[in-house]
């Protein structure tokens, strides 16, 4: 039986769940922050053959020179297999070379559409938003053109909204049949949403978010309560296994010892 950790943080749980969602030998386009931590953890555990792609240009580097602080920083370039620039990285994705994209956002709706642009009324207040967020970066490009998308989110009711302020990164759009195909998109869309409270997927037919597993300590009800829209709750929801002691050690001691992306405090 696995030796489970007893003092992991919600962020560490996200990282471990994200890592487990990744499949060995797949090409994974890495958004900045927790996705980079999860990919590195996967490479150190079950996925040594994962090929990370960074939007600034690096393909398939060894992530052994320290956690990248930026998807364009030097730590993404060590022993890379290919290294040009932003156009080349996104072109590879648009062509179909990237199996998974791994991104975050500030708000998400039931169809997996993400907002990382602004909070407030759109379009009325676009030029003077209530809160301005950093913007798409490459997240919307990954959401559009990676074959599947894995989304990492903080799980709060205001962040899980039936209607989000702004669609930055397309999920299943309005959820209508073939909505992505009809919009001209090439990737298949969101695969998993991994949060501090749950792992979710999407209903094949309605494309609405459905619960797959609750994080340790959470229940179906506590997850639903933290979600601003009605989740589909299938019969086979299970509890996600906690991180092992070794996984937590790798995160804390090997991957992000300075706590750049995985904060040190136990609870947020």
């Amino acid at each position: 039986m696995a030796n489970y950790s007893e003092d992991f943080t919600p962020q560490e749980m996200i990282v471990v769940a994200g890592s487990k969602t990744l499949i060995d030998n797949k090409v994974v386009f890495a958004g900045t922050g927790l996705p980079m931590v999860a990919i590195t953890l996967a490479q150190l555990t079950h996925g040594p053959g994962i090929v990370p792609v960074f939007e600034a240009g690096a393909v398939g580097p060894e992530l052994s020179r320290g956690l990248p602080l930026s998807v364009g920083g030097s730590r993404t370039t060590y022993k890379a297999n290919y290294l040009l620039g932003l156009n080349s990285a996104f072109e590879l994705t648009q062509r179909g070379f990237c199996d998974f994209g791994f991104i975050g956002g500030a708000e998400i709706d039931p169809y997996g559409n993400l907002n990382s642009t602004m909070m407030g009324r759109f379009p009325e207040d676009y030029q003077k938003p209530k809160t301005r967020l950093p913007g798409s970066g490459g997240a919307s490009d990954m959401a559009c053109s990676c074959e599947r998308t894995i989304i990492i989110m903080v799980h709060e009711p205001r962040r899980f909204a039936e209607k989000i302020s702004y669609i930055t990164s397309p999920g299943y759009l309005d959820g209508s049949p073939n909505a992505r195909w009809r919009a001209g998109l090439v990737g298949q869309g969101p695969y998993r949403v991994i949060t501090t409270k749950a792992v979710m997927g999407f209903d094949d037919e309605t494309k609405r978010m459905k619960l797959i597993a609750t994080m340790p300590g959470e229940t179906v009800n506590s997850v639903q309560d933290a979600t601003g829209f009605k989740l589909i709750i299938p019969d086979d929801v299970y509890e996600f296994e906690p991180p092992t002691v070794e996984e937590v050690r790798l995160i804390r001691e090997v991957i992000d010892p300075q706590g750049y992306f995985v904060r040190k405090k136990i609870k947020e």
Partner: protein, 337 residues
């Protein structure tokens, strides 16, 4: 048809066709380069990516001289626009950003951009949101002389409601496809590791969108950490990333991307970045004094980057050189060139 910022495709072609593209010594002082090639009202392409190879030295000189009503074009940037926004926040009559065409303005691991919030939430700049690929592809279209380029992202997003992209039915497949208008900034400001006196650049690590930005723009100012011999440059022609005839001014500025990362030479200076960003955050919250002090010390209080670097403890400079994990440029310098 649409309103162009910077140059329209036909203007950009005409401008370049009439330009002197000869191979000549393009060294000048950074002061002179900014005087000559950065004007009030210009669309300025900001090279680098987030805080890597940001053209910090050039931005500081622009701030010292003062430029108004700039349009900034970039995919993702942190330090470059933050420094300009800080100058604007401190004295709008001297420096100002009128508009931004961009995908991301923040500092990744070092935090969000306080001044993006300050500028936008107070409605001080015009915004046009794009994705990273969009901005990169727009500059690529500009660099290759086509008025637009097709792109599949972000189809379905709200960006299409506010930016100038158009969606058409592809005449070959019948499916919707987005067309991005080319971008032709008036001037590209770019920092690289190595250049020769004619403007040929040898960049290592990620290229970001620097080559496309230079070739799309009417003018290009290059700062480089090291000026190298032309013969060293042409010994490996496959490694030249920006050709001389795309460049107007070349200035050797060691640490020209500080406190950002310059692949093979120095890693991020987290400490200095935090000092600057912290002052920006205080301004956003109502206290401009720390930012004014920062500018008085590191920008207005110095003539150039050499004087700025002299104010940083040597141990800190040695540290960011030591932890830089990119391939040592010494190999690129001594052996390659």
């Amino acid at each position: 048809m649409i309103e162009w910022t910077g140059l329209s495709p036909d203007e950009a072609r005409q401008f370049l066709a009439n330009k002197d593209k000869s191979k000549r010594d393009k060294r000048m002082s950074l002061k002179e380069a900014v005087q000559k090639f950065v004007k009030d009202g210009d669309n300025v392409g900001v090279g680098g990516f987030v805080n890597a190879r940001q053209p910090v030295a050039i931005v500081h000189e622009i701030i010292r001289q003062g430029r108004k009503d700039l349009t900034l074009s970039f995919a993702s940037a942190g330090l470059g626009p933050e420094y300009l926004a800080g100058a604007m926040a401190l004295d709008e009559s001297k420096n100002s950003i009128k508009r931004m065409e961009f995908a991301y303005f923040a500092h990744e691991a070092f935090g969000i951009s306080p001044l993006l919030r300050y500028l936008t939430e107070n409605n001080k700049v015009e915004l046009e949101d794009w994705s990273n690929y969009d901005m990169s592809a727009r500059l690529k279209a500009g660099s290759i002389g086509i008025p637009f380029i097709p792109c599949r992202s972000p189809l379905g997003s709200d960006m299409l409601k506010t930016n100038r992209a158009k969606v058409i039915d592809c005449p070959f497949t019948g499916r919707p496809i987005m067309l991005l208008p080319a971008s032709h900034p008036n001037v590209a400001i770019i920092h690289v590791q190595e250049a020769d006196i004619y403007g040929n650049c040898r960049t290592q690590g990620p290229m970001f969108t620097c080559p496309e930005m230079s070739m799309a723009s009417a003018h290009t100012i290059i700062t480089c950490d090291r000026l190298i011999e032309h013969d060293d440059m042409t010994r490996f022609p496959n490694r030249v990333t920006i050709p001389f005839f795309s460049v107007d001014a070349v200035i050797e500025v060691p640490f020209g991307a500080f406190p950002g990362n310059c692949n093979g030479l120095y890693y991020f200076d987290e400490k200095h970045t935090a000092e600057f960003r912290g002052a920006c955050e205080k301004l956003r919250k109502g206290d401009p004094t720390p930012l004014q002090n920062y500018y008085d010390t590191y920008i207005f209080g110095v003539e150039n980057t050499t004087e700025l670097i002299n104010k940083i403890p040597l141990s800190q400079i040695q540290y960011i050189q030591k932890i830089e994990p990119g391939i040592r440029l010494d190999a690129g310098y001594t052996v390659l060139g």
